[in-house]
Symmetry: C2
């Protein structure tokens, strides 16, 4: 075979994920394998649940990762809760709202989709009115949609769901550990996140949490696998309401993540090591400090982009703090700019999807990638690339504006 | 928090997975993150496909990993192929045959289950007769079932499927890279394996391959996600026959693993590094050498167990070379023996499921765990633990018998 040997070029990753990972996490992942029922490993599973509860700001008992990428967690939550013909309300303000409808439809849901313009979010009262019309079993919504860089306020929606008996399921993939996500206080019943964004662990796991209201639905649908326990214990297999996926069946996953340890899949050993270490790092930094760091780097980035003369896309009152959408100047090939930034400077920023494709770049400030050095290097390099593409910008302004933000922050804290 | 810091005790893992991993794989996994659309990463995806084809002995174009554990791969294959009411024949000779029925049922299949006694496999002619009665769209079968330690011959079944128009889907999780699996020569249409067994990569990925016959079925069910391409391109979304899972939709995954790179999930970066390196290691050793190494260590283990005076479970003519099932002597608490082996010697062997629970231990000889040192240490330690439990065995015989096998092999090869 004529394949090159394994090599990874150095990169500064300023996309909405996957983002850079703390070397401590990578070191943890290089530890040797433990068997899945080794007490050292099952302790690690229990401790990971404990750390997750803290990061997700919840008292829920159930808080564990799905072995798959973020959308695996979303599908596990939705398909375990939604049954054929269940009414599901999905207020969508970007691509990942559509993803919720896609997954819910495939679970057989009667999906009611609410749209809003990309770049905006919903007035919570509009969602609450629609809930009154539809009386959905589930309201499924994205907290921060990276496709448009917007963040939906959730507290009022959570209160309304609790009052009306709807279950609130939230995709918080882009926000957890980067900005405030108060699972219990906002009355979120089921929440999904992903490892590859602000948790700053490699892609491949989707931590979830859910409360007793969701557990009650799941328990009614429980069916133990044949061949796993003696036949005589399988008198009631509860097949009518069985969850349509085996891999994503939370009633089985619960048993695997409980002292019963009923065998389901083989937990992803090295990824769990990485998640555990990543969660430790977050709690060592402290949630409040971590959110503050994300805000500061976002402010510096926005100040730099604006000083350069570029425009920030979308309604700023609902801007997602972990993603900054930048309008591509007229007549410029956004992909050529991205390619030069990657090829010459080793810096990656993201393009975008659907109606926004070719219209905006998306710059992430997430997790380990969210640091001063990265923001400054990105601004300096983007400026150089734009000048090279003959875009009319204000040379020299961007980095200075960002430095001002950082200096101001030091002054305020001292 | 009062949690212990991250630590992994030293272990010799002699279970049917997860098994030990070559330190080269762990080093590869500790490389820094690359963006999912970074050309360095998409090249790595393409190269991984090329390596996979060689390890899976196929000319199929489609050969890529599902981001999830082994059963994620099985579910992806089955739910992408099976539609409501499709007839699926599952000849089951152990727990993982039942798993195929579980998954197929949840896809809405009309499942026809064939049983055989645990410890046996099927006469291929019996399966072929049943195929003639039922005319299934799919025959789904396990190649090596670790629950009973048996391996089903597949070549005749493959030929019969090709002739009759049925699709043959094989769970080869326990056999690929440990013993011969000839995907194309045996006329297997779809094949699934896992990383945590003989591939000797951490759990969390399930490489699959499938041919044009399966691709044709999948293509008819293709439906692009809303929000991913401009609305006007979504005139035909083909919703009637849409695959019931979004995460496991092979028609979308194909687009992600093709030059189109249509965004689906975020590929699990570090796991892909590990898989790539693990496949390289397999091809460097050479498939024939690797199978030979697995046979030799199995022979030494079986010779040792037998010399000790213990019995090997099941029909030896269909023994799975990568798992050895040992009958637990009468009156002995199998779990106490396993616990002492782990606690005092740091060696892990496996218990078993369903009807065999408490009756057999299962000892794996897979991948990096499959080496002389591990076999000798396991035999010596198991002997000591059994003596401590006052089991009447022949002291001192086991390791000597294993050494004889290794010595004989050296003589024959010189």
């Amino acid at each position: 075979m004529q394949l090159p040997s394994f090599q990874v070029p150095p990169r500064t990753i300023m996309t909405p994920g996957p983002v850079e990972v703390d070397p401590r996490v990578l070191r943890a992942m290089s530890a040797s394998i433990l068997g899945q029922f080794d007490p050292s490993f099952t302790s690690l599973m229990n401790e990971t649940m404990e750390l997750l509860r803290k990061v997700l700001q919840t008292e829920n008992h159930w808080a564990y990762p799905i072995d798959g990428t973020s959308r695996a967690g979303i599908e596990a939550m939705l398909c375990s809760v939604i049954e054929e013909e269940d009414k599901v309300l999905v207020p969508s303000f970007g691509r990942f709202g559509y993803l919720l409808t896609e997954i819910a439809e495939r679970c057989g849901a009667d999906v009611h989709l609410m749209h809003c313009e990309w770049g905006e979010v919903f007035d919570p009262q509009d969602i609450i009115s629609e809930m009154k019309n539809i009386r959905p079993k589930v309201v499924a919504i994205v907290h921060g949609d990276t496709s448009t860089g917007r963040m939906q306020p959730l507290a009022e929606i959570g209160a309304a769901c609790r009052e009306s008996g709807s279950l609130l399921i939230v995709d918080a993939v882009a926000t957890v550990a980067g900005t405030e996500v108060k699972t219990d206080e906002w009355k979120i019943d089921g929440l999904i996140t992903g490892t590859q964004k602000c948790l700053s662990v490699p892609a491949g796991m989707a931590p979830i949490t859910y409360n007793e209201r969701i557990e009650a639905v799941i328990s009614l649908r429980k069916a133990i696998e044949r061949g796993l326990v003696p036949q005589e214990q399988l008198t009631s297999r509860n097949l009518d309401r069985r969850i349509q996926s085996n891999y994503f069946d939370l009633s089985q996953l619960q048993d695997y993540w409980s002292p019963a340890r009923l065998n389901h899949h083989t937990e992803a050993t090295s990824m769990l090591y990485g998640l555990y270490e990543g969660l430790w790092i977050i709690l060592e930094e402290g949630l409040a400090n971590r959110y503050q760091r994300h805000r500061l780097n976002e402010q510096a980035l926005v100040a730099g982009i604006t000083a350069m003369g570029l425009s920030i896309f979308g309604n700023s009152s609902c801007k997602l703090p972990t993603v900054t959408c930048v309008e591509i100047p007229d007549g410029i090939d956004g992909e050529a700019v991205r390619a030069m930034l990657l090829d010459e400077f080793g810096i990656e920023i993201a393009s975008s999807f659907g109606p926004l494709h070719g219209k905006i770049w998306r710059i992430g400030t997430m997790g380990y990638s969210c640091q001063k050095r990265n923001v400054l290097l990105t601004l300096a390099s983007l400026e150089a690339v734009l000048l090279r593409h003959r875009v009319k910008i204000h040379p020299g302004e961007a980095v200075q504006a960002a430095l001002d933000v950082y200096q101001q922050a030091v002054k305020q804290s001292s």
